[in-house]
């Protein structure tokens, strides 16, 4: 069986090494080189690119990415928890309700983002309705700000929160809830003192699954932030296209990746059986 296995694994190795590991190593190498006169990379080797990240301009972008991701994650948790609880208690139709949460996730992310552009812009549906009802004279600036980006991120990644929450809530022993009720706890007290503490693992997993893609988000800040809300992803894209500073772009990419992996390590160590 061993020979067959080796043959079967070979193409997989080819793809993961050739199209994942080697490109990442190239980025590592580029991050230590200097920018060439025509936008390429050139020697000498330097740590300059990593030091540039500490420029206040870039620290602002980093900080913005972190807080926008944190706020989006918090909203996802707040909105996702009751939804997961509902799905977990839906009895026979659990799978159906869970699939209904996941279905939009599998349709185009770009289109789901565009849907919010369509709703939020000056001539969009929300502003049109508000003006028709004379609730506002001029269109409200709903699009192209931090709020729109957060909304887009919450909308995009809510399923990532619901899935692990559902997995923990579904496994919750109903006897514990009965016990709490028998001992005189009201539904709200049961929720706070029994259900929430017992679903901590699911919450951690969900927060991680939402925070990580938010931190690396590119499309949402680009379309819904309209170039005003620059996050790390946009900085990377900009360095590789318009600014043509590949070494600096590579350094920022690696820092983003290190941030993601470090966070994962940190949380995974705390929560033994996460993911």
């Amino acid at each position: 069986m061993q020979r067959l296995r080796a043959w079967f694994l070979a193409p997989g190795y080819l793809v993961t090494v050739g199209l994942f590991a080697v490109p990442m190593l190239i980025v590592c190498a580029y991050s230590l080189l200097s920018r060439g006169p025509y936008g390429g990379v050139t020697t000498p080797w330097t740590l300059e690119n990593y030091l540039r990240v500490f420029d206040p301009l870039y620290l602002t972008i980093l900080w913005r990415s972190v807080w926008i991701s944190a706020v989006s994650t918090a909203f996802c948790l707040l909105l996702g928890f009751p939804l997961a609880l509902f799905v977990a208690r839906a009895g026979k139709r659990r799978t159906l309700f869970l699939n209904l949460v996941m279905l939009p996730f599998w349709t185009s992310f770009l289109i789901r983002t565009y849907a919010w552009m369509f709703l939020l812009r000056d001539t969009g549906l929300i502003n049109t309705v508000l003006q028709a009802l004379h609730l506002t004279g001029a269109p409200l600036p709903l699009l192209f700000n931090n709020g729109a980006v957060i909304l887009g991120l919450v909308y995009g990644y809510l399923p990532f929160m619901v899935l692990p929450l559902y997995a923990t809530l579904e496994k919750l022993d109903p006897a514990l809830l009965d016990a709490a009720q028998d001992l005189g706890a009201s539904p709200w007290v049961t929720l706070w003192t029994v259900i929430v503490p017992l679903s901590k693992t699911g919450m951690m997993a969900g927060c991680l699954l939402v925070f990580i893609p938010c931190l690396g988000a590119y499309l949402t800040p680009d379309l819904l932030g309209g170039g005003k809300t620059v996050m790390i992803g946009n900085l990377v894209q900009n360095q590789f296209t318009t600014a043509r500073d590949w070494p600096f772009g590579s350094a920022v990419s690696l820092l983003l990746l290190i941030l993601v992996l470090g966070l994962l390590r940190l949380v995974a160590r705390k929560e033994e059986n996460l993911l």
Binding site: V27, W106, T123, L215, Y218
Partner: protein
């Protein structure tokens, strides 16, 4: 709580689905603006009459099909091999590739293609997009295949070998038929993920390989046209049907 949860769920599902429904609804609106002025199919006509869009659709389908064929084949074999005996290198690389932000995957592939193809003096194009898509689709395929194999009884393979079949015959006549629904589900998901990608594609695409998401992106940036709504509605419905099919395959 008993009353609150269902009410909340209705609101939450509305939040998830209304934006897409409203978007689709206004693709039938005869006005350019968000005021309903009457039913029309003219935006759909515009979509079908647009040669640029037709070309992008053909590109997207070609990339999706070729990438699906390669990634499904490679991923099925790799998944089977990993199921036989763990390969921590491949498993870890695949998890890492899932965790890597798309934009980072995109620029690393761009840097790689520029580096390699500079020596070969081949420009970016369909081939680079296909390779990039294979790279990020592989993890999805392996995950679906492994999930499928978890329900497969190893004893069946042993029985087949005891009855005189060789490794290859056992794989082909016993294991592959059992994996088939998993393979089909993996292929459908792979196609969906490939068809949908904008971030990585836009970085590694050349002049001849504009895809449908790239066209939608530039149309969305330019501003108002219900033609984008029409196009989006059609893609959303098509992808939705695709995913439902994939789910059904997986459960078989």
């Amino acid at each position: 709580m008993k009353r609150f949860l269902p009410l909340y769920a209705v609101a939450a599902y509305a939040f998830l689905y209304l934006p897409l429904l409203v978007l689709s609804m206004f693709s039938f609106n005869s006005s350019r603006f968000s005021v309903w002025e009457g039913f029309t199919l003219k935006w759909y006509g515009e979509v079908f009459g647009n040669e640029n869009l037709l070309e992008a659709t053909i590109n997207s389908l070609t990339i999706g099909l070729v990438c699906t064929a390669i990634a499904t084949a490679v991923g099925t074999l790799a998944g089977y091999a990993i199921w036989k005996r763990k390969s921590s290198f491949i498993t870890n690389s695949l998890y890492l590739s899932l965790l890597t932000p798309e934009i980072v995957t995109g620029v690393s592939l761009l840097a790689f293609f520029q580096f390699v193809f500079r020596f070969l003096s081949v420009p970016l194009g369909m081939h680079t997009v296909i390779l990039a898509h294979v790279s990020f689709c592989l993890a999805y395929v392996v995950i679906v295949i492994l999930a499928r194999l978890r329900t497969f009884d190893k004893a069946l393979e042993e029985a087949s070998m005891d009855l005189g079949a060789n490794e290859w015959q056992t794989f082909w006549y016993v294991t592959v038929p059992a994996m088939l629904p998993g393979i089909a589900a993996a292929a459908l998901l792979c196609f969906t993920v490939s068809f949908d990608d904008y971030v990585i594609t836009s970085l590694v695409a050349g002049v001849d390989s504009e895809t449908l998401p790239m066209v939608i992106y530039s149309m969305a940036r330019k501003g108002v046209s219900p033609a984008v709504n029409a196009l989006s509605a059609m893609i959303t419905v098509a992808l939705g049907v695709f995913v439902l099919l994939a789910g059904r395959m997986e459960r078989k």
